[in-house]
Amino acid sequence: MGEEEGLHQTQLLDTMFVRGLKRKCFDGEEDIEGTLAGFKAIPSYNLQRQSLLDMSLVKLQLCHMLVEPNLCRSVLIANTVRQIQEEMTQDGTWQMINTQSAGQTSLDRLVSTDILCRSSKEQAEGKLVPVYSTFTKDCEGTQSQDNSEIMSTVTSPQAPRNLQSNMWEMENPQENRGNFQKSLDQIFETLENKSPNTVEDLFSEVDNSYYDLDTVLTGMMSNTKMGHCDVLETFPSQTTANSNSNCKSDLNELDHIVEILVES
């Protein structure tokens, strides 16, 4: 949207949010007509909310290349996005948005940018896929194999889900929502180092100098990223209840990392 439009939208958002509108909770008994009427009565609220969502996602994507992004700011923006998503889920508007092609483009763009950032080798090995893609297996019924086209398949065991994502799964196991959740968490993950506990244990005897596992492994990943990508590299999340099964894949990763170390 043009600058002027953006400004206008923001001013509208200001007036819209000034009263701190409560979340609209449409209970199941309301008929479709009522729902539509509700939408018509405040059509701009949803638009403004969507605008806020888009703005937030853009903010999360824009990380400074040279300096580490501010974690507090990222966390606050991510929480805002989750909040909007929760409300949109309760409203049932999440489904509506996803059926519109316009609303999807930003999400698709996010997902694809992230995939572009990964080297083809990593994609093939399926190592950098965040655990959240496994949640598609939790969903009943409609989860399609299309997910695997977008995300490489994951071999790691299912990770325990937190309450939020469970809610999303049960409410509306949409493929696109899965993508959104993934992209949100990918964005969030990319902004932060991650240290799988299991791998940390392996390194516990190693000298705990500055370059602890967080920084080492993330550093290795970021060295492999493409130049045009302005999102920090993702790092596989290995959280799992069963650490033994992960050891082998962790060791493979370590080999991979050592390889890079030696080469560089």
Binding site: D14, M16, V18, G20, C72, R73, L76, D185, G219
Partner: protein
């Protein structure tokens, strides 16, 4: 006594007093170099020294001149005492990221001998600096010449005692300790303990306890990093030791909560002793509620009985004995509540304002936009808005109270919300420990104001 909203120029009666301009430090240019932006301001324990840190990693220390009998109205000006480069930019090769040299915080140590010590920190490394004076030098060494060359031992025929002769004052700053490699995330706070032996440093997810003498080791006392980073929803925003109880400290979070911890209860203080949170007002809930509740600063009162927190729109004073709500709440710039979306868009909503107490804990001060800063008198409940600007920078000029017009007809001398300059933000302020002297950092300028002696 705090600054009270008096009339225009004549001043009120009785105990009212007014703030006057005293000094301004820094360049006047319109073009502000990023490195010159002041990022922290701190008086030392006596108030004789005032330290500033900037984005370029430099520390400038001002010293208060002795009171001059010929100029009784001037309470002692602050002049540059020492300037040094505390931190340099670094490059983390493993992460391919720069580590900024910006000084996030400076904290003075209590003075124990002739030298002064302070801790300064950037995002990753804390340094202990010793600032010492040298105003004498020794002459008449036996073993070396005046220019330092060693004398031929066979030439020495007599023994003499070196004499101390005065020289021009030289102030030297030397790094005595470097506390590095203990923080994965960005350090936001440091706080010297009342035992004068230890201090804490806090980053987004962890708090470490250091001994001032030991640099290769620190204890982790708080760790809120989740096992799965995807579950991260809250970070540490500030931390401080209690001024009297060396086992007690508090830390604030991005969700508007404060946790008080007692180090005696366990080595890892993940479980708090007290949890301070004000219940949310459901009628004012919005998408921005959490962001504006994030606490940007927490400060104990000098008495140790209260603590003050700063969130985006308000300052709250808490009684340490009451966890469920603050005892006092002061609105800093409530007129911004209707502008939150714009402020979110331009990132101003993430600005971290600091706050400070006066020496007697009767007043508090915090900054705002448009180079405005606010003072609140806790006893009279009066507040005043002042501006740090070059226009009101005449010596001993009384500062005129400012007012923001929130709607309707704008009165003369009022400024409307839409005219506020959000690039001119006062994030860092400091109050002299005993006197009514305040230091206000406005971008690259440091303003010093004093109360007018009536």
């Amino acid at each position: 006594m705090a600054g009270v909203a008096g009339g225009g120029g004549g001043g009120g009666g009785g105990n009212d007093f007014q703030w006057c301009f005293s000094q301004v430090k820094g360049a006047i240019d319109e073009d502000v170099a990023e490195a010159d932006i002041i990022s922290t301001v701190e008086f030392n324990y006596s108030g004789d020294l005032l330290a500033t840190g900037d984005k370029g990693g430099r520390v400038v220390i001002f010293q208060r001149e002795q009171e001059n009998k010929s100029r009784p109205h001037s309470r002692g000006e602050y002049n540059v005492y020492s300037t040094f480069q505390s931190h340099e930019p670094e490059f983390d090769y493993l992460k391919s990221l720069e580590i900024e040299e910006k000084i996030n915080k400076i904290r003075w140590l209590p003075q124990q001998n002739a030298a002064h010590f302070l801790l300064s920190t950037n995002d990753k490394t804390i340094k202990l600096w010793k600032i010492s004076e040298r105003d004498k030098r020794a002459e008449g060494y036996n073993l070396k010449d005046e220019d330092g060359r060693l004398r031929d031992p066979f030439r020495i025929t007599a023994l003499r005692v070196p004499i101390l002769k005065p020289m021009d004052l030289m102030v030297e700053a030397s790094p005595r300790r470097i506390f590095a490699n203990a923080h994965t995330y960005h350090i936001n706070s440091i706080s010297v303990n009342s035992d004068h032996e230890t201090y804490l440093s806090a980053d987004d997810l962890r708090i470490n306890l250091w001994h001032l003498e030991i640099t290769d080791r620190s204890f982790n006392i708080v760790d809120i990093k989740p096992a799965n980073m995807e579950e991260l929803t809250e970070v540490i925003t500030a931390a401080e030791f209690h001024p009297h109880h060396c086992n007690v400290f508090v830390y604030s979070s991005s969700k508007g909560t404060i946790r008080l911890c007692d180090m005696r209860s366990s080595a890892l203080c993940d479980r708090h002793s007290k949890f301070f949170e004000e219940p949310e007002d459901p009628s004012s809930r919005s998408f921005f509620s959490e962001i504006i509740s994030s606490i940007s600063d927490v400060k104990f009162s000098h008495s140790g009985r209260y603590m003050m927190t700063r969130d985006y729109l308000s300052v709250k004073v808490w009684d340490l004995n009451m966890e469920n709500r603050p005892v006092e709440t002061y609105q800093v710039h409530e007129y911004l509540r209707s502008k939150l979306c714009s402020l979110y868009e331009n990132d101003c909503i993430f600005d971290k304002f600091e706050c400070c107490w006066n020496g007697s804990d009767s007043a508090i001060m915090t900054g705002s936009y448009n180079n405005f800063f606010r003072l609140f008198d806790r006893n009279t409940r009066r507040d005043i808005t002042l501006e740090a600007s070059r226009e009101s920078s005449k010596p001993r000029a009384i500062l005129k109270p400012r007012k923001v017009c929130t709607g309707g007809k704008r009165k003369k001398d009022e400024i409307s919300v839409d005219s506020l300059d959000f690039n001119k933000k006062i994030l860092h302020t400091a109050w002299h420990p005993t006197d009514n002297i305040i230091a206000v950092a406005a971008t690259n300028n440091l303003y010093i104001f004093q109360d007018k002696i009536n």
